[in-house]
Every structure is written in C-alpha cells, then in structure tokens.
Symmetry: C2
C-alpha cells in the first residue's frame, strides 16, 4: 500500500509516461509488458448487461484504435493472454450518485485482472485499459502495473444547450462516447429556452408544434438516448428552464406570460420581447404539473432541473396584476416572488417522485434541503449553498463556450477558493462539477470542436486527486486524448479540417490559411456578442467557427519564445515561424477579398505579418546584442499590443511570443 | 447549338475553370453569377418520389458544403432565387440500362432551371449544380451557364469485393453517395468467393451459417441497400461466383465439390484446397436453381452475375468421375465443360427472369446472345465479345486494387485500342465499363481511400465525351472532387489521416512520418502478394494501408523537377524538398525500430535520404555548371534506381524527380 501511495497523483518516474486521462488515484507501474494476442481469452463474471455491452464496445474500439481485428474470432481458437473481469454485483436500475464507481486493475505479463463492485467500475476500468494500449516492436502491448482508482467527486457532468442550436441525436451520442472515455457521468441537457422547446410532449403537443421549428427529440429518441447513455455509465439530467428563458413555452401558451405575450420564438438578439412565466396564475402550475409529470416519467434520473436563472424582473414590475397579487400575498420583491414560484415548482417536481435541481438564482434558505444548486455565477454561491446545507455542483469556471484554455478550467477546484474555509461536513455538500456548453454560436458541425479536448481537463479535475495539477503533464495527456477520441467517431479534428477546407476552397495554395489559423483563437468570454450579436439563422462557417478555442501551436510557440530568451537553441525554430508570419500576408492577401468566408480576415493577416517582423527584429537585437532605446522598445511593445485587436471575432494569440522577446532585448527599459 | 458545341468537351476559356467532374457533354458559360439566397423558392413538377428525395439530399448536402442552413426554413418566408425543376415523367420501377439519363440546366442571374425526361437526369443535374457552388464576396454563388449533358455509356459501374474482407452496410452506402456524386450508376457486389458467402439465404441457411464467419448482409439489409442505391440512381448487380471461387458454397455443400471437399473457408494463401463445383452432378444445378431463384427475387436488377472466372481445371482433371462423365457426354476439354456448366446456369438465371452476366472466361459462341460479358483479362475479350454479338462491359484497365495512378485508368477508353476496328453496330455492344476493387488487402477502414479520388477519373471516362482527355485538367478537378467528397461522409482522407496518426502514435514529432508517407506509394499490380501473401486475419494497419495509392505530392514534385531542368525558378522549392528528404532519416530513424507499425520502414527512410542527397548534388551541378563524368552519372543513376526497391509493400515514387535532374547534369553522357 505504501508503494502504491508513493506513486499516487504526483506522476513521478515511469508512471508519468502513461497516457491516462483522468489520472487514477493510485498507480504502481513495474517493468515489462503484456503482449496482446490476436484473440484474447476473456472470462467475465457478475455485473449486469452493461458489462457485456461495455466489453463488446471495448473490443470494437480496441480494434479501431489498433487496426487489429480483436473483435473477430476468425480462427475460433482463443489464444493469447487471459483477461479476467469480475464484477461483484449488478448496478441500480436507474444509475445513481451513490453507486461505487471504483475499480481495481492488475496487468501482469500473463494477463489482465479487472475487478469492481459495480458495473460502473468495470466500464471505467475498461476505458483505462484502452488508454494504456500502445504499439511496441513485439506488437500491441499493455504496461505491467496495478491501478486502484476511484473518483474524487460523484457528479462529473457536461451540460449541452440544445435549444439555441438543436443538436441531433448522433451529435449527442458521439459526445456521450467521449464523456465515457474520460469517465464523466452526467449529461445535462438544456432542453428548453427562448429559442425552442426540444422534446416531444404528448400531453402538450403545442410545445413542439408551435415552439420548436420542427427540431426536437421524439420521446422514442429520448428513450434511446437515455439507454445509450446508461450503457456508458452516464446519467441524463433534463432541464426545462422556468420561469425565465421560457419564451418557447409562452409561444405555445401566451396567456401564461408576464405582461405582453412573446411575438414568436427568439431567433436573434433583436427579438427583445422575452417575458417569463406569470407565477401568480394557477394555470401556470397546472401546465407545469402536466408537462413536468410527463417529462419526469420520460427521464428516469432522480434529478430534474428546472432552470431558474436570469429572470428578467421588469416584466413582473410592469404587470399590474402581478403587482396587485404580490401586495395581496405580502411578497416583498422579485426574489421572493421567484422563491414562491420555485417552492411551488419544487412541490410539483417532488410529487412526481424527483428531486429538484436549479441554477444558483433559486438559492434561498427557505427551499427544502433536497434541492440541488448548480453554481454558475461564481464560486461564492457554491460555498453559500454548501453552508446552507444544500447539495451543490460547480459550473462557474467550467463554461466551455467562453473559449478559455484548458489550463484555466483545470485550475478551478470545487473545494478551493471560497469553499476552502468550509467545514468538512459542509464540503461534503459539494458533490462535483459540470462543464457547460451554451450554443448561441455552436452548431452540430462544430460542437465537438467546442467541447474537446478541453473537456478532458475538466474531467480530470473532477475525477483525479486534488494534488494532480501539473499543467505540462495535463497538456501532454490531453494531446493524446485528442487523437484517441477520433477513433470513437468524434469530429473535433475532422470537422475543423473540413471547415478550414471550406474556407480555403479550391483556389488557394495550402498552408497560407493554416498559418493564420494556428495563430488565432476565438475572442474570449462574451466578447463575440459585441461584434456579432446572436442570430440563430446566421451561418457559422467562418474561421472563428472552424478553429479550436485553444491553439496548441500558439501555446507551443509562446513557450518556445520564453525559452529563447535565455536558450539560443530555441531560436532557429522561432525564427522560422517569424519568417513564415512575416511573409504569409503578401501571399494570402490576394485570396482574402474574393470570398465571403475570408474577407474579414485581412487585418488579422496584416497584424500577423507585423508580429513576424517585430519578432525577427527582436531576435536580431538579442543575438547581435544590439541595444534598443526606451522609445524604440515602447514603440515595439505598442505595435505588439496593437496586433492583438480582435477582428472577425478572432484575435492573434501569438503576440506573447514576440512581447517576451521585445522585453528581453538589451538596452534601456 | 453551335455556340454550345463550340464549348463542348475541349474545356476552353472560362468553362475550363468549372469544377465539374465528370465534364458534361456541352457547357456554355456566360459572365455573371446567381447569388444563392437563404431560403430558395423551389418549384418541382413531375418525376417520382426519387426526385423529392434527391432534392432534400441536395439541400442537405449544400448545407453541409457551405455551412449555410439551406435545409432549414426558419423564418418561413421563401426568398432568393427561383429554382425550377421539371421532370417529364417517372422512371421505371426497376432502374434499367435504357433509361434516359440526360438533363438540361440553365443558370441565369434570376434562377435555376433544371429539366429532364427522367428522374435519373434530375439527379445527375442536381449533382452538377452542387459542384458549381462557390463562395464569392457577395455570398455563395453559381455561375451563369447552360449545360446539356448526357452520358457516353449507359453502364458506368463499380465492383466491390465484399467476400475477402466483408464491408458493412455503412461503408457501402457512403460509397454509393460517392458514386452518385460522379454519376456512376451500377454497383456490382461480389457477394461470394472462397473466403465467404455474404448474403443471408433463407432457402439454404448453411451458406451463411457455415460459410460466412458471421459476416453477411441480411435480406432486409440487402433490400435497404437496394432502395438506398435506387434513390441515388444506382443499380445493384449481385454476383455469386460459380463454378470456381466457390469454396464458401462447398464448405456448406461439400458433396458438390470437384475432387476433395474444401477444408474450410479460405483464410490465407496457405489454404490451397480450392475446388470448383462439380458441373457433372445434377445436385449442383438443383442447389443453384434454389439459391439463384431466391437471390434473383431479392435483387431486382435485370442482370445477374454468375462469375465464371479462374476455374482451376486441375480439380476436374483429377476427378475420375468427372472425367468419365466428360467422355460419356463427348465434352472434349475443360473450356467445353465450363461452357456446358454456363449454359445450364444461364437457363436457371433466365428461368427466374433475369439475364446472365459473367467474367470473360464464359465467352463462347454457343452462349445465348442476351449474355453480358465483363471483360477483365484484357481489352481483347471486349472486342471479341462485341464482334460475336454479346453486350459487353470493360473492366480491364479499371482495376483499382492494382494501385495505378488515375491518369492510367483515365487513358483507357472502351472504344479505342482493339475495339477501334469494330463496326459501329459491333461497337454499340460495348455498353460501358466498370471499376473493380478486389479486397485481399482492403478493409472497411481503407476502402474509401482505395476507391477515391481515382474512381472519379474512371467515372469521367465513362460519362464524358471521348475527346475529354486533358490529364492536367482531370487532376485539378479530381483534387476538387477529393475535398468535396468529404462532405458526403466519405472517409478517404479522414481515415488515411487517422491511420497515419496510429502509426505515429504519441511519441513522434509531427511531420517526420508525413515526409516519408508523401514520397511513397503501395507497390503496383500484384506485387504485394510477393512479400505479403493474402491473409484475411492479418491486420492491415501499416503505412502501405494508410497512404493513398497515388501520391499527389510526388506527382507534383516530379513535375516540378522536370520544369527545374530548364526553369531556375522551380529550383528553390525543389531544393527545400531535397533538404527535407536528406535530413528526415536521421530524425525519423530513432522512432522506427520501437513500434511494430514502423520497424519495416527503415530502408525506405534511408533511401529517401539518399535521394535527397543525390538531388541536391544534381541541382548544384546544374546551377554551378559543374560537369560530371560518365562514371559519376552512371553511379548516381544506379543509386537512384536502387532507391526504388520496394520495402514494406511500398516504394519511393519521387525517384523520377532526382533521375531527371541527374540526367540533366552537364557533362559526358
């Protein structure tokens, strides 16, 4: 046990080389390998049908990854190493938070032993084995090791907004495969918003008939999706957002709106009539009772998410009947009115057998303690909820649509910061975290690109010991994950390439657009709204939509420049990049103005050229020990700064490489 | 009409810039563009349900290609240009050779008019429109033009061998989409061979139960596949190969074998017991009558392919009961015996309502004239069949599994060579051609890569006027096709990248393997058998399986070197390539020996380095006018020659670039 602990979480020695993500709780690696035979002899006991499915999938995926048909037993004679899988018991009929997800894995030169208490542990263990396979001269091998692994948090989620841009079943399913690969276990679907209601309701067919644009999941599809997710150890938590973000409901039921009825589904930022439900009408609760009742039996998970975020109070302020009702019922303000609403909804949710989840706006001491709070406005609400005795899940810091780098999400720990001061009992209320992917600017085409590989870093934060924080190791392993996810059919790389190809068209020489593309990232946070307001009908086929939210090349080049300050051996490669940037614009420019997909890239390409020129001058100054004056350096830094101005919802992210060299030039400062 | 003719087939002026493949019979392009609106106003009359499906698919594919959601009518208000589609009548219930596939297309600045006599013409026309769409500053546009288009040959096919490596339905379907994109209209499935019987037979379940390894199409899947193909203007012609290549049948029915029963399905070159059917037993014809009857009602096409190729006569020679029977029936040799068999089979095929097709070994003047001959052993049999009054289809010259470049297939014309001397009536018996993809060394993973984009060149040969022969134009348009096929879900590029990624693994710097990969091609013709005999269980996950059969980069570099002989401006780029090749081996070599997927690449990498060094020396000699001696040149040429030796079923195809420069060095020769 001491030896195992020694190797836990700190990624030392040989174990650091393993391509595991998330990193397990305990790893002990020994010398040697197990060579995988053509037809493994598999012995499986216990569990439930999910273990069989997971094993079939494991062999299929292994075959895809290796190109060796492990899933076909042509010759009929099993040979090669033994693979023993023992599962102590079946899992619950509906996957639950409390189930034991741990597993124990022993790989020796003779075979593999995977044991777990629950099918979930077997599934996680099979994903771990999959990640360990690599080709050696002897064939495909696994390292000899022992792993004891258990998640740090029980709730490891991903929310996908399927209202603003509808995501077809296939897009969701392939991302469930991705989630399972990194041991995430909750898929939260944001199923209704101002832009559309996305699940068939048999009780209230107007909800999709009038309020979905024809794009929604049938109930059969939902059942398929839930079965698909369950088979992969993933719970599906549905969200129907009320009382705000509810225009779709109110397009179908306009009499339940606070103030004026909406003029139709919200399609763009110009559709500004977005009333919430009228919480003072009994008919509101009758509708919710009917629809929530229907949806609570469709979605078997224990939790039912009722949204509750961003209620626009002005509609309540301006509705005289609401104001009269509030006075009559002694409700002093909009927060109290929402709490009244939330409690009524909570009763509905509970009557149909579920526990209520909501965004942190619903937090109020008066709510029953079985409510689950999803903290998104900041880690403060997480700590508050935990202190007040509510179970809570962190999403602040995990919003993938804000386009932050993986390292930034990786640094967010649900139990640090404001939560650090909590008692351990209070801390136990913090049950995990959830990445969120809002879809104003995401389509099925680039959904995967927006999720992966950054989601891997969040998955590791939520699974691995708190001490696993090495960013360099994380990025190395994320890069491996990035490649391996492609074998599962995820499109994050392939669709990005196709979208770049669409922009290149048939007239451009290769490499020119790529040189620009690898130097840019989408603008961060909510900056895109400033230059391109939300429009659900606008094509999302520009460079900002095609590139990854985080440029690996830029990160590498920026690091190279930091090293180049003191290490001359880093400079030749850097010089090559700078020359390429400097010269790219002259070659690229003629192609930019002739296509609607390229014309807005002109200033970015020019700025990249400026950065190349400045970078070369700085390298020269450093290498030739040619000092610059204070004015010169100031001027250079100003030009570097100027190069980072956003255009076409993108900005150059390689400026730091040049900045660090300008700052390192000899001379006055 | 004169103007239209003027522009036909010779790709002159502006029309040469259109990205069409296959090139249409007549194109007249004018100035100007039609800008596509967000929600086109479509007016469709006539045809049958296939026209509606084709239109839906057209809008979906257009949306995928452009990233503009043309298929969603969010705002409900159709606007933008008119798109008028008129189809004179419905097509036949079972698509037939004789149907009119022509179409007439007019694109003006106001709209699109597409007219055809038959739904097949509309489908072809929609593919043409799809190929014409391109982004301009105004948006996505179509050029103003008029096209009158009709195919040169009625039979434009592709054969896929699904016996040696089974190809799942999805792999076949996505390639049907590719076929439709280039106006191919016959999918010939080679459904049985020594390696397996690949269609469910309800009358004779042993055929898949004992002789398929569990990998076969159910009858429902076959019906789905046929409907899928029909919807895309593609006929499905089934082949069940008899009397040779029939081990799978005989594993199920061993008593019908000539001589010894087979020892099991053929799995590798070492399984050498491969008897044909015994054509002297009545039970043979009883079985064929039952199974062919069943399959002829499952596959609605008029033609039914009975194989007939490569019967190994030694089994008949060595079977005394067959010999006795032959003497008793006055059958003088094995050819006569096969003809006896073929006639009996032809009666069976005809009794069930179909016409018989077979490989050219069945050709014999005694066959009924409604037999169709597929010529594969050489164009001689094509001319012979046509002269003898049989309809015939050319496959010799179109074998994609032989790894020849597109230009080689493109140069093969069914009506040239030995067919040129035929009378025009005889020529009319030559109804088309068929590409063939045998699958000894192909899996579902690289099937697309083996077919595309070379198949586009064959499709053009079979559709376009005979005068369309410009290879440069063909390669330019094939490159466009190559990219656009990706939007249909074809995997020829994506899977090649993934397979290269598998070989690179997680330890290699990028670019090193790519530098080698772009310089090699798989060995040609049947050379792979010499070093890697067929083995159905062997993983096909090596570099030879990952790379394209034809290296675009190599072709470009070889052409660049030819130019560099007299044009100094071509030399700097060439020098860059040579330096990269020279230096690549030292960087790549450490990674080669450590993986089973790379270790056999060592000599190729070394030879590439040799070519780089020789190329640089030759460039120096040319530029510095430094003459070489006869001995030196001979030595250099010998080293160039030596570099082309095959290793790992690959060979370097960039040697011509170096050879042409060595030959151009000043000095004695």
């Amino acid at each position: 046990m001491v030896a195992a602990l020694f190797l836990s979480a700190v990624l030392p020695g040989r174990a650091a080389e393993l391509n595991l993500m998330p990193w397990p709780s305990h790893v002990t690696q020994q010398e040697g390998f197990l060579v995988l035979g053509h037809t493994p002899q598999i012995e499986l006991t216990g569990g439930d049908e999910r273990v069989n499915h997971a094993l079939t999938r494991f062999l299929q995926n292994l075959s895809l990854r290796t190109g060796v048909p492990f899933d076909h037993h042509f010759s009929g004679v099993p040979a090669g190493p033994h693979f023993v899988i023992r599962c102590a018991g079946p899992g619950l009929r509906v996957q639950a938070l409390e189930e034991d997800e741990s597993y124990h894995l022993v790989i020796s030169q003779r075979g593999i032993e995977l044991t777990a208490a629950n099918p979930l542990g077997i599934m996680h263990g099979l994903e771990t084995v999959q990640q360990l396979v690599e080709p050696k001269p002897q064939g495909w091998v696994l390292p000899v090791l022992q792993i004891d692994d258990t998640p740090r948090f029980a709730w490891r989620g991903l929310m996908i907004d399927v209202s603003r841009h509808f995501m077809p079943l296939g897009a969701i399913e392939r991302n469930i495969d991705g989630m399972a690969a990194v041991k995430l276990n909750v898929l939260h679907l944001h199923l209704s918003d101002d832009e559309g209601f996305r699940v068939e309701s048999k009780s209230s067919p107007k909800l999709t008939g009038l309020a979905s644009d024809g794009l929604f999941y049938t109930q059969d599809q939902v059942r398929d999706l839930i079965a698909y997710a369950r088979d992969r150890g993933v719970r599906v938590v549905p969200e129907f957002d009320v009382p705000g973000h509810a225009v779709s409901w109110l397009v179908a039921y306009p009499l339940l709106a606070s103030g004026p009825a909406p003029q139709g589904l919200v399609r763009s930022e110009y559709d500004t009539v977005r009333p919430p439900f009228d919480p003072t009408q009994e008919a509101t609760y009758e509708l919710l009772d009917t629809v929530f009742g229907e949806m609570e039996s469709l979605f078997p998970d224990r939790y039912f998410h009722i949204g509750g975020d961003e209620v626009d109070g002005k509609y309540w302020d301006n509705d005289t009947s609401i104001q009269t009702w509030m006075r009559a019922h002694n409700i002093k303000d909009n927060h109290a009115l929402q709490t009244y609403f939330t409690k009524r909804v909570q009763e509905i949710v509970r009557r149909h057998g579920k526990e209520m989840e909501g965004w942190d706006e619903i937090l109020d001491g008066g709510l029953p303690k079985d409510s689950l709070i999803q903290s998104w406005r900041g880690a403060g609400s997480l700590a508050d909820a935990a202190r007040m005795g509510y179970r809570t899940v962190l999403s602040a810091g995990y919003y993938l649509d804000l386009m932050y780098p993986a390292s930034q999400h990786y640094a967010v720990d649900p139990l640090s910061g404001k939560s650090a001061a909590l008692s351990s009992e209070e801390k136990s209320n913090i049950i995990g975290g959830e990445a969120a992917q809002w879809a104003e600017y995401v389509t099925p085409e680039n959904l995967d690109n927006r999720l992966w590989p950054r989601l891997g870093a969040i998955a590791e934060r939520l699974w691995s010991p708190a001490s696993v924080t090495d960013v360099t190791s994380m990025y190395r392993r994320v890069a491996v994950l990035n490649r391996n996810l492609e074998w599962l059919g995820l499109e994050h790389q392939a669709s990005s390439r196709r979208m770049l190809g669409r922009i290149e068209g048939d007239d451009m020489p290769p490499q020119l657009l790529e040189t620009l593309a690898m130097a840019v990232e989408p603008v961060k946070e909510y900056d895109r709204e400033k230059t391109q307001g939300y429009d659900g009908e606008a094509p999302l086929n520009h460079l900002v939509d095609a590139v990854s939210p985080e440029s690996d090349s830029a990160r590498r080049i920026n690091a190279l420049a930091q090293r180049a300050v003191y290490d001359p051996s880093a400079r030749p490669e850097l010089r090559k990049w700078f020359i390429q940037w400097r010269d790219n614009d002259a070659l690229l420019e003629p192609y930019l103005s002739v296509s609607i997909l390229r014309q807005r890239l002109v200033p970015l390409s020019q700025s990249l050229s400026v950065l190349g020129t400045l970078g070369l001058a700085a390298l020269d100054s450093i290498e030739l020990r040619h000092p610059v004056t204070l004015e010169q350096r100031k001027g250079q830094l100003a030009r570097v700064e100027g190069s980072t101005a956003p255009h076409a919802e993108l900005f150059l992210v390689v400026a730091p490489a040049v900045r660090v060299l300008v700052e390192a030039e000899p001379g006055a400062r």
